[in-house]
Symmetry: D3
Subunit: 248 residues, 6 copies
């Protein structure tokens, strides 16, 4: 169900059946020596496909640019502003409503996008209450993560190019991982870094927030499967509610 491979003559009926469009959104951003700049795009895209298969949804083309303020000074990072993201996501949502979609799931592979996604979702919620908008960033994976990880997290809310994210890549996009270059480089992140604008070059030179060498495909599989189940259930429930409302 790759949306852009459909043609205009057939697509209207399929939208009516599917009701749900999934937008992968990631970023182009430094991910250490062993992962590509497009890691967040790859993860979002592959996860979106799996989710689409399980929920009979359409996958929209990936929006591959995100807000990477913290890493913008690292080689290869491309940063776009919250304003640009919010406006574009709002416009996409507006078109989806017009096209007959009732669920718009933004599948986010990059935490830095979260505030923009939330704002865009709220604006759509205000103007198009008939559209259910989701912003997913590995929901429901917390317990599995706690179980499978071997090293503690370098930071309370974000992870990056580390044991976790590298495991996700090994499961979802193994051909883009070069484990021979994986490093163990957990930074010490000062409490102050959470209270003032802090580019990451002040505490890491590799952008690897942890021990990437401990990543395995199996860890990735377990975590990704747990979040996939969560997202699948949420979308399935949403569809059911919509269908119930439609019944006479």
């Amino acid at each position: 169900m790759n949306f852009q491979e459909e043609n205009a003559m057939d697509v209207a009926g399929k939208i009516e059946q599917s009701l749900c469009a999934i937008l992968p959104i990631g970023a182009v951003e430094a991910h250490g020596p062993h992962l590509p700049l497009g890691t967040d795009n790859l993860l979002a895209e592959r996860l979106a496909r799996l989710l689409a298969n399980r929920t009979n949804s359409f996958v929209l083309p990936t929006l591959p640019y995100g807000q990477v303020w913290s890493l913008q000074n690292f080689p290869g990072s491309i940063n776009v502003s919250n304003e640009a993201l919010i406006r574009m996501l709002y416009d996409i949502g507006e078109s989806l409503v017009r096209q007959g979609f009732r669920i718009f799931a933004m599948l986010n592979g990059h935490l830095g996008n979260a505030p923009a996604l939330k704002d865009a979702a709220r604006l759509l919620y205000r103007d198009y209450p008939e559209l259910k908008v989701y912003y997913f960033f590995y929901p429901g994976s917390k317990e599995t993560i706690a179980k499978v990880r071997d090293t503690p997290s370098s930071h309370a809310s974000y992870f990056h190019a580390c044991e976790l994210e590298t495991s996700y890549m090994l499961y979802l996009a193994e051909e883009h991982v070069d484990m021979s270059r994986a490093v163990n480089d957990p930074p010490t992140i000062d409490l102050e870094a959470d209270c003032t604008p802090t580019p990451w070059e002040t505490f890491t030179s590799t952008a690897v927030l942890g021990d990437a060498t401990l990543a395995t495909k199996e860890k990735g599989q377990q975590i990704i499967e747990s979040t996939l189940q969560t997202m699948t259930a949420i979308i399935a429930n949403a569809k059911q509610r919509i269908l119930l409302e439609r019944e006479p």
Copy 2:
């Protein structure tokens, strides 16, 4: 030279060598029964790869959403505003300057994006004169088109899902074309349509502006090669100028 497949450790030196980033930008839009919604994305992306190969440039991930006001009421179209596009393109350009690029070539597969691209380019020109910004929409193809086309154009400035665009697809993305569904449906476009907001459903039901059945891979090849030569020369010249400036 797929930019997002690079990693942060190696990319800085390669940027220094390459100097040029190519951004494919297209749209999700109705393209008749024989072409997919993502036609403009596919064309921009494949053309970008060819151009990158010939000019030693990087291809950035495709920006797959464009301004499709005219066709927004057709099934499958997703429209984003000029404001969203301008802002995102400006932000991308700003990051490219910071990353050391000196040429930013927007390879556009959708005419409706042209005003936004021009505006974004002018803003970058004002703020970052050291960055050469291009907006390419099949430049240098005019004479070849005049030579190879069998049917007249339906409109003085735009073509869509017709003999021409279908030929481009046959050459660049044949696996996405279903010639068995190609139609001949040239509309009559009133002069008034150029002077007042006119959604295309007022003059076409297929969105095919011409005779798609006459499309051939050979026509596509000739036209695409002519524009590729033009773009290749423009970028090669720009690089040479930059390198000359750098000489002591």
Copy 3:
């Protein structure tokens, strides 16, 4: 039917009769040694008066500032941004709806204004579908131009202070033309100029894109009359449609 000469007590009834307001919009911009800076304003204004006479429309006061990015570095040019134009045109359109007008014809004398006019028209179309908005830039003149011009055009889409525009001035505002200073100065405009921000001083020192010495009042008359007929027909048809809708 000069709108600003009307008084508030009488104007409401006249609007009800006329239905159509014509806004001349031009620019202050270098036009060579033989034409004044206000050439585009003069052309828009005089053409508007002729069109108003033939269609029983009101002429609004001229909006004399336009987007002249390309020539902004020439002496005398005054450039305003697309944003300023779009906002002002939108506001004017909104007031016209409130005043009872049903047709808003922007008579444009300067090609650089075209994208702003189109955007403003689309915004009004979205918010005030009951208002028919036109953006006219010499529509319907193409064939006559091909017939009467003696020299080829310097560029595929724009003409400036040349055989054509000077002829228009000789027909519409002869007292502002000094043919003794007219020059023949066709530039060579590189294909690259259409693909990257290119101020005109890079290819012309006079801003005359052609041979102004070949301009004649007769050429001007033929072309202007052809576009006047086209615009008159468009407005007459629009009025008729509105009146038909109103019939019981």
Copy 4:
């Protein structure tokens, strides 16, 4: 010194001599049965010409649209927002700096424009301190007004289509006044009207705030001459300061 009648070849030197550009700015707005909708434009334009003559300044083309919120529901009024005005005035000021002007005098014929003019002037002051920006609304006329008026003002800060403004018109644009339709219609304006948005239709049906029948050309002449002297002195002083700064 009508700016738009100049040509690009000669104008640069003249700007260097003159240094000062005067922009008439008015509005299209109901002015009772005896004055035209364009009263504020006519007054601004004619006053600008007189001021230009006395100060060797250029008169720019009139910006004929203003903020007429209070009267927007009266027949014939065209209202534009502060945002549109501010943006356009800022852009014009920016171009004037680039063209070599050092004084930008906005000659305002409509009080409703005052906040936008002040804001635009402050923005230019911040970004272009070398440009002296004035916003003139009959400065220095207070004492003469107190002397010549026969009826008290209807409001502490504004006057409209009344003894005063009609007198200005009789002096500056007599051919547009129809004194046979002048009325005496002073409204009672509640104190509350200054503390809450109050469209003028709530207290007047004619938009004449006073006794227009008492207007005379002589009153107009005295007041206009007093403000002209004030403005002439201000601009003359400003020029002198600029020239002194330039001396070695």
Copy 5:
């Protein structure tokens, strides 16, 4: 009736009874050696409390930042833009409507806020006609001022840290006044200052526009009571109109 001291369980019913919310809005700005930076906040806040008592209204928390362009270069001044104020006031008004308020009285202690308040009020008037919005800056005090003041005003429209404002402070916030440091420092304000951006340091070093030594609590009392009566009457009338509309 301090709004923020209420709790959510009880407040809905009280809003239904009161209908009116008063927002004190001031500024942080230099006020000479004898008055504190927060003078305008203190005046707005205390006046708001008195008005609330007399009209059974709620006092909202003070918005303590205002537009102080003219004094922004004086020690201690904090300036916020019109845009920030307008947006925040609009948002507050929108919430008040949702909460069931029908009257939103902005009690302004700083003249520089006036344009922003007026603009915000007009936007709310357009979008929420059911909400009556007031912007109060000492309304109805003119005659009393003329009676009690001993020295003439330094400027036709503004007063600052002078006989008047110091008197207000002596009446409303005496504990914040240090009369031993009060000065008599009337500036000469050129007519030009009203026609061009003019920071106040060009004509005063103390920011005291007059003779603060003549201030007395009694003068303050008389003026403040007169404006309180005016505001009380306006709000009482507004409430009465709303209640009448509600009657069956």
Copy 6:
């Protein structure tokens, strides 16, 4: 060190000594039956005073309006947009730089403000790198919280009117707490609530996310003191760094 009680004559020298301005920012928002609408303002303000005392900083007047999207439908809530907050905070920061401050600490009492504060801080960081900007929301309190709380948190990232926040109020603003009305009302918050716009009325009727009856002054004291120590250390270090930079 209440900034708005200072006067302009003395304040410059004190700023030079202090270097640091603390801005309390809260919200007006439903906080259950036992806490006032202004809870977040009270907490921010009192905490700011304590922090100012320990760090020789100035306390600016409280910005009492915040982004309360989630609770905007509860009685008494007043919601302002991120845009309004960001713009106002940016403007305040800009003035602080001009006034000679080198540290701008936003002491936030309301989690919903966090994204706006972060964005404003990043904009100031870009434009005024000489200003150190902090956004504090109880930093360094995590361990103490884990130790003192008797009930688990209702949500991974937010707490509201519960055991914790009520304890803070008992310590900092006891006179505004009515423990007799405190309730135990922990909601069940679905995982979906973190992935889609979810007004809180969907899972709580009291807005108390936990057991407020377990709140004690002692718990409040321990947590507040731990965060105070953290913030004090951060500011003290920042001052030291600034002073070191200044040394010759």
